[in-house]
């Protein structure tokens, strides 16, 4: 037993090798969130489609992704797919696996956000002649964003930490770099605690960004910060259930 080494902790706290790993964690999270948002929006819209096929496809995708562990998905993509001749790099595999997984969770959040926009807003947008995509972009999504942001922020916080799973396919993000450094320097506790501190800093900074975003989208509704009256439209829900 060697005890806690403050000098080693301070030394690793500003270690460039680890900081670089933390940077990988950040950009990987941002990229995965972007992919997840695109996939999630598609899946959410397909889930609400009037046609059966897109609805079933989206449901299948969400069911598959949420019903299997992300770790298994990553390993299948990186280690299993080459058996079928599909060879993806570490980064491609991580982006694909994490993105697909994130998209499935975001799909339900985005769908709930869209359903929270009153039916009259769809009517009004259509009545001024907006086609579907214009209506979504100009009228529906900016309003849904208010409802989507809190759970979305929560997901991004989770994602910053979940990217550590990519270490098992040897992606050199923060956790992997910590493990590699430990193999050289044998300061297990100190280095892992430094890694934990980095994660804390990243999630805390995100918390600040998230509060700003929520304030931005809440501005039109007054400074009270009180959520607007949101009626989930029953007809839309029933339509969806069919």
């Amino acid at each position: 037993m060697s005890g806690w080494d403050w000098a080693a902790f301070r030394k690793y706290l500003f270690n460039l090798y680890l900081l670089d790993g933390a940077w990988t964690t950040v950009w990987l999270s941002v990229a995965v969130m972007a992919i997840g948002l695109a996939l999630g929006l598609c899946a959410a819209l397909m889930r609400m489609s009037g046609h059966r096929l897109p609805r079933d496809l989206a449901r299948f995708y969400i069911w598959l992704m949420r019903g299997t562990p992300l770790l298994v998905q990553l390993i299948i993509i990186y280690t299993g797919l080459p058996q079928l001749g599909i060879r993806l790099s570490v980064i491609q595999s991580a982006l694909l696996g994490l993105g697909l997984n994130e998209g499935a969770y975001l799909a339900e959040i985005i769908r709930a956000g869209i359903l929270s926009v009153p039916r009259g807003q769809f009517d009004a947008a259509r009545a001024v002649g907006m086609p579907y995509w214009t209506m979504l972009r100009v009228v529906i999504l900016p309003q849904a964003a208010r409802v989507i942001l809190p759970p979305l922020g929560n997901n991004f916080n989770g994602l910053l930490k979940t990217t550590s799973l990519a270490s098992v396919i040897s992606l050199e993000e923060l956790l992997r770099r910590s493990q590699m450094l430990i193999q050289l320097e044998f300061k297990v506790l100190e280095i892992f605690v430094v890694a934990a501190c980095y994660y804390l800093v990243m999630t805390s900074l995100w918390g600040v960004v998230q509060r700003r975003l929520e304030a931005h989208f809440g501005r039109p509704y007054g400074s009270s910060g009180e959520p607007p009256r949101r009626v989930i439209d029953r007809t839309l829900l029933e339509q969806d259930a069919r």
């Binding site: 009259g120 807003q121 009545a127 002649g129 907006m130 039109p220 509704y221």
Partner: protein, 257 residues
Amino acid sequence: MPPAEPAVQAQGVHKFYGSLHVLRGIDLEVRRGQVIVVLGPSGSGKSTFLRCLNHLEAIERGSIRICGELIGYRETPAGLVELRDAEVARHRRRIGMVFQQFNLFPHLTALRNIMAGPLHVLRESREAAEAEGRRLLSLVGLPEKAETYPGQLSGGQQQRVAIARALAMRPEVMLFDEPTSALDPEMISEVLEVMTALSKQGMTMIVVTHEMGFARAVANRVVLVDEGRVVEDAAPGDFFTNPQNERTRAFLDKILH
């Protein structure tokens, strides 16, 4: 009067909600510049009919033409075929609509609400859309509310902004779906004044309302819809003093006490 084609021409319009037969063959013709007030008991189908006119609701039989153009469908040898979303959207540009619940976009200022159509549908320049938006805000008597969000406006003010928003698309026809029914009594007149002014400028209007004073003073024709059919269609004088249909008499008895 020139023999121009009618602004609105609805023929034999049928609408079902599942097994519920809401509209049972409505015929209505509105010439340009006319104001039609549509009355009827609740559930008679009058609001549904209005929503069919700009294809917010599909129809099962019949046809609707605005300024001669078939709305929501195209004619084929096999019958009418529903158009794609983008084409329906293009048709809707010519038809303004004002809703009972205003339905202003809450995340946009009053001015931005009015500019939304010109900017994102007509693809006008920001300058042109803003100039037109400010002109329309003055027209409805709210020039100082340009930067105000709907949440900070009274019901009457919101409805006037909603009228301006519809006018910004320079529609041929304006549809009003119970525009004053959600308003406190003291705000009703400010909205009716804007509508009256609009009619004097020659706007073609179809108004579903319970405001009998407005019907008498402004309408060219008053129409009673009951159980999905037009049962009376007359000038306001005849409609209120000498109704032809038994159901019109019963309806008037109820609302005029």
